[in-house]
């Protein structure tokens, strides 16, 4: 037994060290932001150097009183985002927070700073429901902006309806687009896949293979491409893959076989999974065996373009829900890049659609809050203001953005198409409306009309 004591002591010490580390970690974090300190995952295009052709912009433009820090009572807002191994959407609320930090440093909302409470979840419905109650009952948030979650809209939509919250989010689940209390800045998987399929059909693909990850909502998502293909009289094959994919080779072979030489393969996966499939296709020598490849918005990152290499130039066409950042030199885009650089240390993905979405949501929220003249920021006043946003030019979307009092919301329904070009994503097609052949789009346009394109 004596022999074991040194080893046992070593083990006890390890255990004690682990416990102390846990306690230290608990004491040192604050509750409003949840991502741990940025580590070695530097993004492909970092935000540290200004790209050529952009004018350096002062971030103080974000607020109404440049240089004056807001010191009044904070306006509490909340966000719920998925953060689990393999899927993390925290960049979106973190970027919104960065925008709010800029506004708080430059006058706030009539002198009031904005405090964003971010709750993370691991796709556990009980946890998501609990997070919503935490935000409302404990943190007393008056508005919800920045939600990005695989299932949050489904779990919480009746709760938000009951309490009268009109949320601004980046939607994924069906309820983010089909309920009165949620309006998204993005198009979500269904309409983004619609855009990709639409582009493939426009290139006269003779067959569509639509492959998506097997996460909640596959039937809802598949219905859009199915409607588009049917209207164009083009056969469509619907596939799903369990993620994480451990055997990308068989996935790529099946897709290519099903599509045929004049067909198109359209993917709807998160960037790591899409990358694995496309890389497998390349390794197997299959990328030229179909007419073209398509992908929904998650593929729209320079990182993917850089990882894929030149073989995919003008071969892969990605739906872009937001204005391409690299080729746009407007004041808003430059402000976005400047805020990301100055305040966005918690945004690990850098320039890309996630941080763009966060920026846009925060932009809309600030615009709405600044329109409140009564000076009282309550659940009623803030959410009335959110709902009243109409024809707002975000500078990040194809169209003017409107919330409105509709039973459903799909305010972003026109997209770009981008393609990789030697390590960067470049525009292949400008703003194009998603076809009304998709019944949900038709229903939305029936109540809300067709929003004009942003100037």
């Amino acid at each position: 037994m004596k022999r074991l004591i040194p080893a046992r002591l070593a083990r006890r010490t390890i255990m004690l060290a682990a416990a102390i580390a846990l306690a230290a970690a608990g004491c040192s974090s604050s509750s409003s932001t949840s991502t741990p300190a940025a580590t070695s995952t530097t993004p492909g295009t970092s935000a540290t150097s200004a790209t050529p052709g952009t004018t350096a912009v002062s971030t103080s433009q974000c607020g109404s009183k440049p240089g004056v820090a807001a010191t009044g009572t904070p306006i509490a807002l909340g966000a719920i985002a998925t953060n689990q191994p393999g899927t993390s959407f925290t960049d979106i609320p973190n970027m919104a927070n960065a925008y709010f930090a800029c506004v708080n440093a430059n006058g706030g909302i009539n002198g009031h700073p904005i405090k964003l409470y971010i709750e993370t979840e691991q796709t556990n419905p009980a946890q998501i429901a609990a997070d919503a109650k935490q935000l409302v009952q404990t943190d007393h948030v008056v508005g919800i902006i920045g939600n990005t979650s695989i299932i949050e809209c489904s779990v919480d939509s009746s709760y938000w309806q009951k309490l009268g919250y009109y949320i601004i989010d980046s939607g994924i689940a069906p309820e983010c687009y089909s309920t009165p209390n949620s309006a998204a800045v993005n198009m979500g998987p269904r309409y983004s896949s619609d855009g990709a399929v639409q582009y493939a059909l426009a290139q006269h693909a003779s067959k569509i293979v639509f492959d998506q990850s097997n996460v909640p909502g596959t039937g809802y998502i598949a219905a859009g491409p199915a409607a588009l293909a049917k209207a164009a009289n083009v056969p469509i094959v619907q596939l799903t893959e369990n993620v994480p994919i451990s055997d990308a080779d068989s996935v790529a072979i099946k897709e290519v076989d099903d599509a045929g030489p004049n067909g198109a393969v359209v993917l709807n996966f998160t960037p790591p999974e899409a990358l694995v499939i496309l890389q497998a296709a390349q390794k197997l020598g299959l990328e030229d065996r179909v007419k073209l490849w398509g992908c929904s918005t998650p593929c729209n990152t320079d990182f993917l373009a850089a990882s894929l290499g030149p073989k995919w130039n003008s071969k892969l066409f990605v739906n872009a829900e937001l204005t391409p950042p690299d080729t746009t030199n407007t004041a808003t885009m430059n402000l976005y890049k400047a805020i990301l650089k100055q305040y966005g240390s918690a945004v690990s993905g850098g320039i890309g659609s996630f941080s763009q979405m966060g920026f846009t949501e925060a932009e809309i929220a600030v615009h709405a809050l600044e329109s409140i003249t009564s000076g009282s920021y309550t659940v009623a006043s803030v959410n009335t203001a959110f709902k009243a946003v109409s024809g707002f030019n975000t500078g990040m979307l194809c169209q003017l953005w409107t919330y409105g009092s509709y039973p459903m919301h799909i305010p972003n329904n026109a997209d770009y198409t981008v393609t990789p070009d030697n390590g960067k994503m470049v525009t292949a097609q400008g703003c194009t409306q998603i076809s009304s052949v998709d019944p949900q789009i038709a229903q939305y346009r029936g109540v809300a009309g067709t929003a004009p394109l942003a100037p």
Binding site: R8, A18, L22, P125, A126, A130, K133, Q134, Q137, G219
Partner: protein, 358 residues
């Protein structure tokens, strides 16, 4: 030997509870009353929802504890069993208007039958083989669930409609629709399940399990039907986990297959070992580790990864130094601390000192 077991039973039934046992029972009753009546007033809805999950997983953990602690069978697939229970309950709740307790019972029974049917051939395997085959079966069930999905109000046997834009919520019992009320409801169900386990432990199955855990050949020689009692343990664990699945379905309102990954069964085993497989309180500790701590850390903004590391450390600790887990270790450590303090106090007093036991 079996005759001795028979004779022991009536004699034990006549013995009254000793004083420490009475005190323990009183404390337990007081604690349970507090949990039922006091806790919902004190906690925010966030923590009430979390504690409902604790109630659910304490049932799963007690089932696993029976298997691991009482019979010595390690199952690496209890989360898959929970998923089956939740699936059955959800299907019944959508398809029928049966009262909630009846649905729970049916979910438990159907899960029990499935558990027995699957467990029967598997019981020919022992030790590591049995653990690994439960992992294999859990993996298979997870893949099936990913394809057939959980019922969401659709029609047909599977009850899943993939194109819904509005998914209806799974209903709750009419007497417990609010979150605090449902919390109390789930605690009551958990108490019933724990009572069921206690009843088993105190009577013949419990003694048979103890004999099997001690030494299978000896138990066999004593005339105990090992297969039957092992199957009984499987059936009990499956029943309780199935009921827990039903409670889970009502708690979350929406079920998704991504919520039941295979690796969760591994984490569940880790926390059950840490909590302690030899005592019923260990199951509660395991559920607190598994559901309450993550919710706490989430609130403080600490990454859940620290907890995973802690669980890994905990497993190693339990297996190398404290086989009975926290439920046993903490009272023992506290008792040791008490003894140490008492000796210290005695040393300070003018009376002749006794050497400290540490």
């Amino acid at each position: 030997m079996p005759a001795t077991l028979e004779r022991a039973s009536p004699a034990r039934a006549r013995t009254r509870l000793s004083r420490p046992q009475l005190i323990r029972a009183a404390i337990t009753a007081a604690l349970l009353l507090f949990v039922l009546l006091g806790l919902p007033q004190l906690m925010s809805l966030y923590y009430i929802d979390t504690m409902t999950q604790v109630a659910v997983y304490s049932m799963v953990a007690v089932g696993l504890g029976v298997l691991v602690g009482r019979v010595g069978l390690v199952s690496l697939g209890q989360v898959a069993v929970l998923a089956i229970g939740a699936w059955v309950a959800a299907r019944l709740l959508f398809a029928t208007t049966q009262p909630f307790p009846l649905v729970l019972l049916e979910a438990g029974l159907i899960t029990m039958v499935l558990g027995v049917v699957i467990g029967l051939p598997a019981l020919r395997l022992r030790g590591l083989y049995l653990a690994l085959i439960t992992l294999m079966l859990a993996g298979a069930i997870t893949v099936v669930l990913a394809t057939v999905n959980f019922p969401n109000g659709g029609h047909g046997f599977l009850g899943y409609n993939g194109s819904l834009v509005h998914i209806p919520p799974i209903r709750r019992p009419s007497i417990a629709t609010s979150d605090p009320a449902y919390f109390r409801y789930s605690v009551v169900v958990a108490i019933l399940m724990f009572a069921l386990v206690l009843a088993h432990i105190k009577t013949r199955p419990g003694r048979a399990w103890a004999a099997i855990r001690q030494s299978e050949p000896a138990a066999l020689a004593a005339g105990i039907n090992i297969w039957f009692y092992k199957l009984w343990a499987f059936a009990l664990a499956s029943f309780i986990t199935g009921v827990a699945g039903g409670v889970l379905a009502g708690a979350v309102h929406y079920l998704y297959s991504i919520g039941f990954p295979t690796q969760d069964s591994i984490t569940l085993l880790a926390v059950t070992l840490m909590g302690g497989v030899y005592s019923l309180w260990g199951a509660v500790v395991a559920a607190l580790l598994y559901q309450f701590l993550p919710a706490l850390l989430n609130n403080w903004g600490v990454s859940a990864d620290w907890l995973i590391i802690l669980f890994g450390v905990g497993v190693l600790q339990v297996l190398t130094t404290a086989p009975a887990g926290l439920a046993d270790q903490v009272p023992r450590d506290l008792a040791r601390l008490g003894r140490f303090l008492r000796n210290h106090v005695r040393k300070a007093a003018p009376a002749p000192t006794q050497g400290s036991t540490k």
